[in-house]
Symmetry: C2
């Protein structure tokens, strides 16, 4: 792996997110031969050339900017490159996919999208509801991303995306990263590699292969307490099982062909088996994200 | 004045709100013969008996509880007695009256209302949009308040409240406090005392006199920078004039019969002139709020 997009905020506020940047800074200091901080597309090249992995940072919630538009530029300076406008619930900016209703992008949301565009912080709508996502694609002057989700037509999970939503994002130059989270897969843990890769090939026909990548949603070696933090943060006194249930509250077992970060090669093989060329497979496995990073992490040229 | 409801948060987060409590603690320490902290209805009696003013605290935004439901009980312990579920914009809990759309109370909002009911923190919907307000009245197990607004039928300002909204709040035992903010008054600064008091008398006919009080919205001796903080906080890089405009950005002049906190007696006189009895005038001028304080600041009896 030349590059990984790591989540460093689910519900953390600004100060808590800075603590997470600090923790990663210690790891970069301790393991300089394995990992390096990723800020720009060129860092992927540098990681590859030095046999390391570049770590790019993203937020799955706008909680790190709190109610302060000035923090958009600050978190970009610290190294944030993706920010979801909402996690599962309503945020100050947009609506999460677990809310009953979705009124679209809020007043503050419109201001923040503009500021994210300016500084080069990518709008990520992975956990947002449909209308908010479509409006974000329309309002944003730069391409946006759904970094981790699959097609709803293939697996009708709450978090997977309907045709109109993917169309709005990709038609505006945006990216869809395919998820390996079992609840997002057809037959969940039992999903076959072939079915997953055929879903991707079908999406390439519908939306254009250049708009597709991988967004594994991998939660490797994390305890269930992390999943609970994702789901309920501090907003509820009651447990909320998300896509799980009281009988299976934790992270479900991964499919046998993608048990860990060592298994990306299986996906490459599966994509080849659908009839894709070497170049096409490489585009999906990283080259599309590389180009997207190159175009969208830098300040707006206007 | 025996008691005043003071706003100590518009956009402040928890820590900043604590700084505002600290500032008031210093004033209570420095001026013990003038003011005292108000926590319970009995403190109004104590203030009256000792010729002081009891200061009760409220938030015009849920920003002090951030995204943390555990902070509801903490802010009540510190002395907060009212919390708006939103200011003018979408919050994590409800929708503000300046948003284009109002999807109602959010997932977190439902949890927080329940917790506010439990500890005795009153739900205030003064700046919220219509649907959110009606839903809050329905969801809350205790009466809620619109602490400062007038009737939309009398003066169709964005912040004044339509019949259905006031009906939902008062029918559930809630309170409406009438505002003296010139933008909420018919003819604004030129509003007559008679017109204001007739609006109140008409509301008494429609909603029941026992549900009405005063919520002056007085911003006496505050600089325009405070008004700017109310309006744009940190959420926008652009100026937003609220109910004002670029030609009159500040706080407009108060009507001649309510220029300051010394003029409450004029309102009493004006209410008498509408034909109300001494008892009825006293209810509106404070006794109704006193009863509401007594019933709603203590933890839920079940």
């Amino acid at each position: 792996m030349d590059a990984v997009h790591v989540t460093i905020s689910y519900h953390e506020n600004f100060r808590e997110t800075v603590l997470n940047f600090e923790a990663w800074n210690r790891w970069f200091e301790q393991y300089p031969n394995l990992i390096m901080k990723g800020l720009w597309a060129e860092d992927v090249d540098r990681a590859r050339a030095t046999d390391r992995t570049a770590i790019f940072f993203g937020f799955q919630n706008p909680s790190p900017i709190e109610d302060d538009i000035g923090l958009v530029e600050i978190v970009h300076s610290l190294g944030a490159r993706f920010m979801q406008l909402s996690y599962n619930n309503q945020s100050l900016l947009a609506t999460g996919c677990y809310e009953t209703e979705d009124p679209g992008i809020t007043r503050m949301g419109r201001q923040v999208i503009k500021e994210m565009n300016r500084v080069g912080l990518v709008v990520d709508m992975s956990h947002s509801a449909d209308r908010s996502t479509i409006e974000a694609a329309e309002i944003s002057q730069r391409p946006i991303a759904i970094t981790h989700a699959n097609t709803y037509d293939w697996q009708p999970a709450l978090r997977n995306k309907r045709h109109d939503v993917i169309k709005a994002v990709t038609a505006a130059g945006g990216m869809l990263g395919f998820s390996l989270y079992p609840y997002h897969l057809r037959d969940k843990t039992d999903c076959t590699l072939q079915s997953f890769c055929e879903m991707i090939a079908h999406a390439a026909d519908l939306y254009g292969l250049e708009h597709l990548g991988i967004g594994s949603d991998l939660c490797q070696d994390q305890p269930d307490s992390i999943v609970e933090w994702m789901r309920i943060g501090r907003w509820s006194k009651e447990i909320d099982y998300g896509e799980g249930s009281s009988s299976s509250p934790g992270f479900p077992p991964m499919p046998c062909w993608f048990e860990s970060n060592r298994d990306f090669r299986n996906i490459s093989k599966g994509l080849h088996a659908t009839g894709m060329s070497e170049t096409e497979v490489n585009c999906i496995m990283g080259d599309n994200w590389y180009r997207f990073y190159r175009d969208n992490f830098v300040p707006f040229a206007g």
